[in-house]
């Protein structure tokens, strides 16, 4: 692969890595697995980067590859011992008037999403990332109608976990 393609990939990936971290945080429960999954997603995005045509936004394309890796390709290397570290991750809320409520909500949200199954995690994640039903149906490969039905169920499950 040419250097310029590599440079372009590094720029694109570095500036969008936050998406990958969020996915790692909902699909893994400790920092070792987080790093493993991050690494596998990086490899998969790079391996397929030459197929990225640029007709869609890089981030949109990356959602698909990253979610596919988390759902279908990744296998935890170790038996997952839940050394939950959501609370260890320092969430510094970026709003000017710092509000600790949002920090707590964010922690609760991550904890709740982790209790969902893999497909529901993807649905909720895409909802939180403000993706349209069209995008969601294209990413997961289901019809828009089914995406809506599944999304409503996933949201209901999430609400139940958040507010038992």
């Amino acid at each position: 692969m040419s250097d310029s393609l590599e440079d372009k990939f590094l720029n694109d990936f570095e500036s969008n890595q936050n998406i990958v971290h969020k996915i790692c945080r909902i699909y893994t429960t400790n920092s070792n697995d987080h790093n493993d999954l991050f690494q596998e997603i990086t490899i998969q995005v790079w391996k397929n980067y030459s197929k990225f045509r640029g007709d869609a936004k890089f981030s949109t394309w990356m959602y698909r590859v990253a979610l596919n890796t988390a759902i279908s390709l990744y296998r935890k290397s170790t038996k997952s011992v839940k050394t939950q570290d959501i609370s260890d991750i320092a969430y510094k809320i970026k709003s000017v008037d710092y509000d600790d409520t949002e920090e707590k909500q964010l922690k609760a949200l991550y904890n709740a999403i982790q209790k969902l199954n893999d497909i529901d995690k993807a649905l909720v994640f895409l909802y939180l990332e403000d993706k349209s039903y069209k995008d969601i149906s294209e990413t997961l490969g289901i019809s828009e109608v089914n995406a809506r039905v599944k999304m409503n169920r996933a949201k209901d499950k999430l609400k139940k976990v958040l507010n038992p």
């Binding site: 590094l10 890595q17 991050f38 998969q44 949002e102 964010l106 893999d118 490969g141 019809s143």
Partner: protein, 214 residues
């Protein structure tokens, strides 16, 4: 305001990650090898093709060749050998074709379906070998039983241990059945463990996603 809207606001306001990875580290990661299940399915699949093919060659080249000749089974074995060779090539082609169609940029459902299809090719190859092996063994047994002194020919040292030939036939059949059942049992257990562990999550997710579209 919906309960989730509040949480969504917190989600949108979450900070950039503290674990930000530098370009140098991202570059290093791109040089590492993938450890995805697709890679494992490919490696294990290839190993299975090699294993079954070696087993086939070994069996067809054993010391029993003389006995096969005496039993007039050499022609049958030769046909089986070449037929098997064609089948292996067809299976390998299908396996390779399915494997290369796996694309991480596909939508999730299609990706999972292609991974499962690739795995199924190997599974069918295993079924072919087991069923083929059992069929050959049955044909082999029928021919032996229909050949005068067939069992004595196969097990000359054992023949003297039994009072009459019907006892020898019974012992022969029982031992063959036990061996076949044990072999199949071990294989099934091995496959369940191997692919069960590897594909449990994927199968579950695929079913979950495909459920609504059925």
């Amino acid at each position: 305001m919906d309960l989730l809207d509040k949480y969504k606001k917190a989600w949108e306001n979450q900070p950039e990650d503290d674990q930000k990875v530098s370009k140098v580290d991202i570059y290093r990661m791109t040089k590492l090898r993938s450890s995805s299940i697709v890679k494992w399915i490919f490696i294990i699949g290839l190993m299975e093709f090699v294993l079954w093919s070696v087993l086939n060659i070994m069996i067809s080249k054993t010391k029993y060749l003389d006995i096969y000749e005496e039993l007039n089974m050499l022609t049958l074995l030769n046909y089986t050998y070449y037929f098997n060779l064609v089948v292996v090539i067809v299976f390998l082609y299908l396996f390779y074709k399915n494997f290369t169609s796996i694309n991480t940029t596909d939508n999730t459902k299609s990706l999972m379906s292609k991974i499962i299809k690739t795995r199924k090719t190997v599974k069918y190859y295993m079924y072919y070998n087991i069923i083929g092996g059992v069929l050959l063994m049955i044909i082999f047994n029928i021919i032996i039983l229909n050949t005068p002194n067939g069992i004595e020919m196969l097990m000359p040292n054992e023949a003297g241990k039994f009072a009459d030939s019907s006892e020898l036939v019974t012992a022969f059949l029982i031992s063959q059945t036990i061996v076949i059942l044990l072999m199949i049992g071990c294989l099934v257990l091995f496959y369940y463990l191997l692919y069960g562990i590897l594909l449990r999550k994927l199968n579950k997710n695929y079913k979950d996603l495909a459920k609504l579209d059925e």
